[in-house]
């Protein structure tokens, strides 16, 4: 039970910390913060697709460098951005790709003996590993740049302008408001349960305890939902959500879109025609 609470607490803290950090960067006046959310969203997707469509290391590197430049212009701390983008997902990609140099056959660049077993490292395997990790890193940096520089409200607004279903937007908006509320509630319930225990409990018992906390959370959520509806109704809610700010495409958005478009076209051309004089694979 205690281990469960400790591990969950870390998870919960991460969510809150991420939110606070995100809030910090969305309020800075940088390039990405000034762009229209639709433009950012579509540009991010286009660049990610370029990265996944390409098997050339030079293009992955170019996208990674471009993303870091954009982050810099958007006034995001370089050190923070590296840590935030590399720490979880690309690091896991490294772990996944770790066996590649040993299992892919090709030109042997190193070999050593462990317990009489000959282990060989191939050049092709190393490249494969490098390109996989770089691609994942480039893609993750792009989405994290979008997340760090976009306010949730304006992203939702952008999504609704891109014709996402109205019901989806309304539920997204309300769910977001209550995530923190229920996370906090669940945390308190787990701590309260722990404080009533007199000794350590087994795994199954801990799971059962946690699950009844969840059941209770669900029931409270239902009851809360009824109250929220009545409170909203009494304030004039009729199923419509209105926001005050209206989105407009500015000159900056057009320039940015054209630039990103040009970069993507350039990369595609490079991908198709250019043979490099030096080995970049």
């Amino acid at each position: 039970m205690r281990r469960m609470i400790e591990a969950s607490t870390k998870e919960i803290l991460k969510i809150f910390r991420d939110t606070v950090l995100c809030e910090r960067y969305t309020n800075i006046e940088g390039l990405f913060q000034r762009l229209d959310p639709r433009v950012k969203f579509l540009a991010t997707i286009a660049l990610i697709i370029t990265a996944v469509a390409s098997g050339k290391i030079i293009i992955q590197l170019a996208i990674l460098v471009l993303t870091f430049l954009l982050a810099l212009i958007s006034r995001i701390s370089f050190k923070f951005f590296i840590v935030r983008t590399f720490l979880f997902i690309p690091l896991f990609a490294v772990v996944i790709a770790l066996p590649l140099p040993f299992i892919i056959s090709g030109e042997i660049v190193a070999s050593f003996k462990i317990n009489g077993m000959l282990i060989m490292v191939s050049r092709e395997g190393l490249w494969e590993m490098l390109i996989f990790v770089l691609r994942v890193w480039a893609c993750v940096s792009l989405s994290i740049l979008l997340i760090l520089t976009t306010k949730w409200n304006s992203l939702l607004h952008g999504l609704s302008k891109l014709h996402a279903p109205r019901l989806l937007i309304v539920i997204l908006n309300m769910t977001y408001r209550y995530i923190y509320f229920f996370t906090d509630m669940l945390y308190k319930m787990l701590i309260a349960r722990e404080s009533r225990l007199t000794g350590p409990v087994g795994t199954l018992e801990a799971i059962k305890g946690g699950a009844s906390a969840l059941g209770s959370l669900f029931i409270r959520a239902y009851e809360k939902g009824e109250k929220i509806y009545l409170a909203m109704k009494s304030r004039g809610y009729n199923g419509e959500m209105k926001t005050m700010d209206d989105l407009k495409i500015h000159k900056l958005d057009i320039i940015f879109s054209v630039l990103v478009g040009a970069i993507i076209v350039m990369m595609l051309v490079m991908q198709m025609f250019h043979e490099f004089p030096f080995p970049v694979f």
């Binding site: 281990r3 969950s8 991420d18 996944v52 997902i89 539920i171 209550y178 059941g215 029931i219």
Partner: protein, 218 residues
């Protein structure tokens, strides 16, 4: 289970985005007909509760291994198959667009696995088993266990399939599908247990919540 950006080929992204979009279209068309104003806050808070529930780390065995609840089957048992899909869509969108969990371009694939597959398999298995066992509390609990377990295992199977058929992912189907399916098939028993315990608890405390109108294909 959340596939990040950079794992899937463009055509895999496209296929699963289209498949998911078809399910979205059907689900939202039905939901717009069935859902009333007063259901919207209920829907939203339940979704938020599932989001919170996903944050618990469940201890499994020795060595500090932990598992997370995905909750697709659980939410579908409460809201119906389409309802579960909408709820999981909201959760996965928030995770991808706010916390960087799961890729933005991989949303179609992730929602297919954890929204469509897990909710539909989980929900219909739950219904079939509980009906076969005579619609008793016990039948519902057993149904919830298998719904949660098989639902997540099949979701993992699809996840393995998607990364396996992608050429940019370094391993092929022969590796990715067995690894994902077996690993999550084992971990999935925890998902099944939690789903069963939560349904059992609700049956004991407020059984009426399981009988609310659901958003279903039929």
């Amino acid at each position: 289970m959340h596939i990040p950006d950079g794992y899937l080929d463009p055509w895999v992204l496209a296929i699963f985005f289209i498949l998911t979009a078809i399910m979205w279209f059907l689900a939202f068309r039905k939901a717009n007909k069935v859902i009333e104003d007063k259901h919207i806050p209920l829907f939203a808070v339940l979704t938020a509760a599932v989001f919170a529930a996903q944050m618990i780390n469940w201890p499994i065995g020795p060595g500090g291994t932990t598992a997370h609840l995905v909750g697709g089957a659980l939410v579908a048992i409460f809201l119906g198959a389409y309802g579960g899909l909408i709820s999981m869509t909201v959760i996965l969108l928030i995770q991808a667009l706010l916390f960087g969990d799961g890729g933005i371009t991989a949303l179609g694939a992730n929602i297919w696995n954890m929204g469509v597959v897990e909710c539909f398999v989980g929900y219909y298995l739950y219904k079939t088993i509980s009906k076969a066992l005579g619609d008793t509390s016990r039948g519902k609990i057993v149904g919830a266990f298998f719904g949660g377990w098989i639902g997540i295992t099949l979701a993992a199977f699809f996840c393995g399939l998607q990364i396996g058929i992608s050429t940019i992912f370094p391993y092929d189907i022969a590796v990715s599908v067995p690894v994902m399916t077996i690993y999550h098939g084992l971990l999935g028993t925890i998902e099944g247990l939690i789903t069963a315990f939560v349904v059992g608890y609700t049956l004991k405390v407020r059984p009426d919540l399981l009988e609310l109108p659901k958003i279903d294909p039929l």
